[in-house]
């Protein structure tokens, strides 16, 4: 993978391939597929990838009991299971996280990724958690996903049903991929209230009110760490929250530790978070974690002129610096 971005110029059509070694195989890439529709094409790519031995497992989505669920397809005959529609909220890039040893045991992975997921892959590449030739990336063009996705049938996106984080998505067509499937997608609808508007609303409140709001929210945290486990970029072998000597973060589900934990989680993702929304989706207590993520993304953008993208060559803002960084808060 030398040119992560030439896809934009070379592959505008729905069924064309991508850069890298895979391109040589282009003429007979989808011998069994004639279907121009998105899912058919996904099947063709997945079948090809498995049949040609480019990957041992294709990680995608399949029908589950409540909406779709992640699927691990290891034989070409099984690729018909794979689906992609507005219910495919899961960020499957999380399975590339080196902490996931069971997934690694399945062999060389091919992962189906949306635009936001591609940013997470870029994050792993950027931080040397993954090398590009270890993985086959199958990008899907995505026009947004549902906020509540546990549905038996795919549903169209409306302002009420769309996930607010999809608003103004800048990566509806993932770069960085080996294959790109699906038709170009329209911009997701605008939700009644955007994440930015919710952040701004909270920021306009007095400091005591903000404190009250978050203490109330964090008090519901049960410290299951689902937010951490699902996050594609929470990569520490040993999390500071699990350390007991010294115990920086109180382990009990109590407001004091909950505050430390949630601040720490947000801060450790600052400038790294791709806003895929998985932490908030996984949270059993429904904490509005995306507000914290969004707030930090805004700060990172404003202060360091950085927006999480899917180019692994762009350094992340934390761990990097400029000599002339703003320091209006330092005397």
């Amino acid at each position: 993978m030398t040119e992560p971005h030439d896809l934009t110029t070379e592959a505008p059509e729905a069924t064309t391939g991508a850069p890298g070694a895979a391109r040589e195989a282009a003429p007979d890439r989808y011998p069994e597929t004639g279907a121009p529709d998105e899912t058919g094409d996904l099947h063709g790519v997945a079948r090809h990838v498995l049949a040609k031995g480019e990957a041992d497992v294709v990680i995608g989505w399949e029908e589950g009991r409540r909406g779709v669920r992640p699927a691990f397809v290891t034989t070409p005959d099984d690729v018909e299971r794979l689906v992609f529609d507005t219910r495919c909220v899961h960020n499957l890039a999380t399975y590339l996280n080196p902490r996931r040893r069971q997934v690694a045991a399945l062999g060389r992975p091919a992962v189906v990724i949306k635009g936001c997921d591609a940013k997470a892959v870029a994050g792993l590449l950027r931080e040397a958690q993954l090398s590009r030739d270890q993985v086959v990336l199958i990008g899907v063009r995505c026009g947004g996903v549902l906020e509540v996705a546990e549905l038996d049938e795919p549903a169209d996106l409306t302002p009420e049903t769309v996930s607010p984080r999809c608003y103004r998505c800048d990566n509806r067509e993932p770069h960085l991929v080996d294959y790109l499937v699906g038709d170009p997608q329209a911009e997701p609808p605008r939700p009644p209230k955007t994440v930015d508007e919710r952040v701004a609303e909270l920021e306009d409140a007095p400091v005591a009110e903000r404190w009250h709001f978050w203490v109330e929210e964090f008090s519901r945290c049960v410290r299951c760490y689902a937010c951490r486990e699902v996050c594609p970029l929470c990569i520490c072998e040993r999390c500071v929250a699990d350390k007991s000597v010294p115990q920086w973060i109180d382990a009990a589900s109590h407001p004091r530790g909950n505050l430390s934990w949630n601040l720490t989680r947000a801060l450790h993702l600052a400038g790294r978070c791709v806003e895929c929304g998985e932490c908030e989706r996984a949270c059993p207590s429904g904490l509005p974690l995306m507000l914290l993520n969004r707030k930090l993304a805004q700060a990172v953008r404003q202060r360091f002129d950085y927006v999480a993208g899917d180019d692994p060559e762009v350094p992340a803002p934390v761990g990097d610096y400029r000599l002339d960084d703003a320091e209006e808060f330092i005397r």
């Binding site: 909270l202 400091v207 005591a208 920086w248 930090l296 761990g319 610096y321 000599l323 005397r331």
Partner: protein
């Protein structure tokens, strides 16, 4: 607890995380120069501002600090070349996040104090103490910390642990 009295009796407790090479030496200079300054600050010396995890600040508040000072070498003066640049980015973000969750930014002071700036250290300390005194004790955080847990037990603050009231 120190905040229980009238506002004019309140003596804030300030925790200062300072780097070994500049601010600690600067504070030392302030002392050897016999500069008068508020005595509310407990200094914790660390190798570099780059060593200071924002969790240190959270922990200080958790353990009863009313305010926190983070201070180190001026830009381009870092003993380790770039530790303060990294810290600058980190604390810029932490400060915004803390403010967003309702921790008054006035409780936190960030400064560059070199080894020769004893007088500046005095000013940083005095201004921080005055500002935090005006804000009052950080009772919100203390109430949060002291909330009984499921077993009905309350968390020990530093006063509880030491069996005394400070300062």
């Amino acid at each position: 607890m120190s905040g229980d009295g009238h506002a004019d009796e309140f003596e804030p407790r300030i925790t200062a995380f300072v780097c070994n090479w500049c601010t600690y030496t600067g504070a030392d200079l302030a002392g050897t120069s016999r500069l008068h300054m508020a005595s509310n600050v407990r200094i914790i010396r660390v190798p570099c501002t780059g060593r200071i995890d924002p969790l240190f600040i959270v922990k200080a508040f958790e353990r009863g600090a009313d305010g926190v000072i983070v201070s180190g070498c001026h830009p381009a003066d870092c003993h380790y070349t770039a530790g303060n640049y990294h810290a600058r980015r980190r604390f810029a973000l932490f400060r915004e996040l803390a403010a967003f969750v309702g921790i008054d930014p006035g409780r936190m002071t960030f400064s560059w104090v070199s080894a020769s700036e004893g007088a500046k250290w005095r000013d940083v300390v005095n201004d921080t103490v005055a500002r935090v005194r005006a804000l009052g004790p950080f009772d919100e955080y203390r109430r949060l910390v002291d909330l009984p847990d499921a077993s009905g037990e309350s968390y020990a603050t530093i006063e509880g642990l030491l069996g005394r009231t400070a300062p």
